[in-house]
Amino acid sequence: MANVLAFAEQRDGQVGSSAREAVGVAATLAGSMGGEAHALALGGPGLSSSAASLGAFGASAIAVGEHDGLADYNPEGYADAVVAHVQAGDYGAVVFPASTLGKDLAPRVAAKLDVPLASDVTAVSVVDGTVSVRRPVFSGKAFAEVSLEASPAVVTIRPNVFQADEQGEEGTVSTFAPDVDPGSWRVRVVERKGASDGKVDVTEASIVVSGGRGMKDPENWNLLEDLRDAIGSDVALGASRAVVDAGWRPHGEQVGQTGKTVAPKLYVAVGISGAIQHLAGMRTAKTIVAINRDADAPIFGVADYGIVGDLFEVVPKLSEEIRALKAGD
């Protein structure tokens, strides 16, 4: 019997879907281990009101560490606070989101606890008391099933894969002051750019609109921005490697090997032929739409719906039709 801890990531003092998904996975594991799911959130003063919402997703206890120095992520402060909390709690497993923060934090925590870590997992189970996970390797060209033969088992979970179900219960919220010393930190964030302008990241968006070389010119991205705006919120722009290498789009938008791996509800590939590295990064999207003038493009081999044609005619029409559809809702 063991409890399971979910690390609840916050941004700007609010916990989001990554925290809810981590709590959901912790609840699944705890159910198999005969224990309870707990959540740990770290941030600045006032975080507890947002973190309390995690009770409804299965966390029976929510610990909120509030400290001015932890309002924004700091690897050393966060790692020390998480490790202290895990060691005090005798957990069988610890679940992090596989976000930029989670992928930075979890290896530090695992190394300090001297336990192995499975990254970016897409399924979890408990077999004979041991945590077993499924995770993509080779950027999704294959999947490995591995068991973690140490306790606590530490995992990071891929965004958008696990369902966070509201169970309508309330968790007990306790606030504490983490014992951290910002003066001793050897890593310091001195500037943040663009991270809080409301743009959703390509790995976290439920819909991704991606452009490739068929877009012909970086100026033509206004068509994709318009399509994004027509679809609504929670939509991110993505890009193929070719257009990132050409300097048309930032690397943060690149989908595929040497870029991001995404699993959105809907992936719209515009003017992307579908090189094997690109397909590896988006093939687990629930629904894939391809718009390409070349009927033989490999992208059509993975797309659920395809339109063969000139994207400069198809995309504006698509934005228009979607606006009309949304107006009727």
Binding site: S119, R188, E191, D310, V314, I322
Partner: protein, 249 residues
Amino acid sequence: MNVIVCVKRVPDTEARIRVDGSGHAIEKAGIKYDMSPYDAFAVEAALRLKESSGAGEITLLTLGDSSAQETLRKGLAMGADKAVLLTGEVSLDGLATAKVLAEDLRGSDAPLMLFGIKAADDDQSQVGPMVAVLLDRPCVTGVSTFEVDGDKAVCHREVEGGTEVVEVDLPAVLCMTKGPTEPRLAALKGIMAAKRKPLEEKPAAESPSRVRLTALEEPPARSAGRIVGEGADAVPELVRLLREEANAL
């Protein structure tokens, strides 16, 4: 400034991956191997630092079997000065790998140790920060570019929807991602020179894996869907299908 760059030999990112008959390994026949692309970004960053500061030695380090010599020679041909191959088994346990590397790096006074943010085979993003913990060095991950400024490095880091500027005290571990400059290709002169550069091979420290692979599978085949139609005329039907059939809008 001396820099250590840890690299890994992985299947080329163009490679088609097939699971072999054992169900626990990939089909190796016909696969081309290369330095993991993120590690190549790290080698490039080290070379640029050396070129701009004019001093220091770049040492490559890897864990693997003798075939990893090829990967080290590539880094030497790009311009690194020497290389060390720790011969041993590479498992899916990133901490086991980190312990092997840390054991070898423990005595090093190199102010910078560079890693790729992840290896392009296991995709774990673990080893760099784990080595940093084991050596008690500060670490920054996802670094696209950095500059050394006295006893610290100023790193530009990719985060969701933006970038961060992060200052880190040296000695430090930096885990590199794609930056504004492509890794250089080795010129013939570099390839010839690489053959004469020192490449030391020695057994890796014992470090048992605690991650057990129980199965390796190819992803479920994604059957090709349908071509809804041609040109803008097909758009209304596409939108209808996305709304009514796929429930995606």
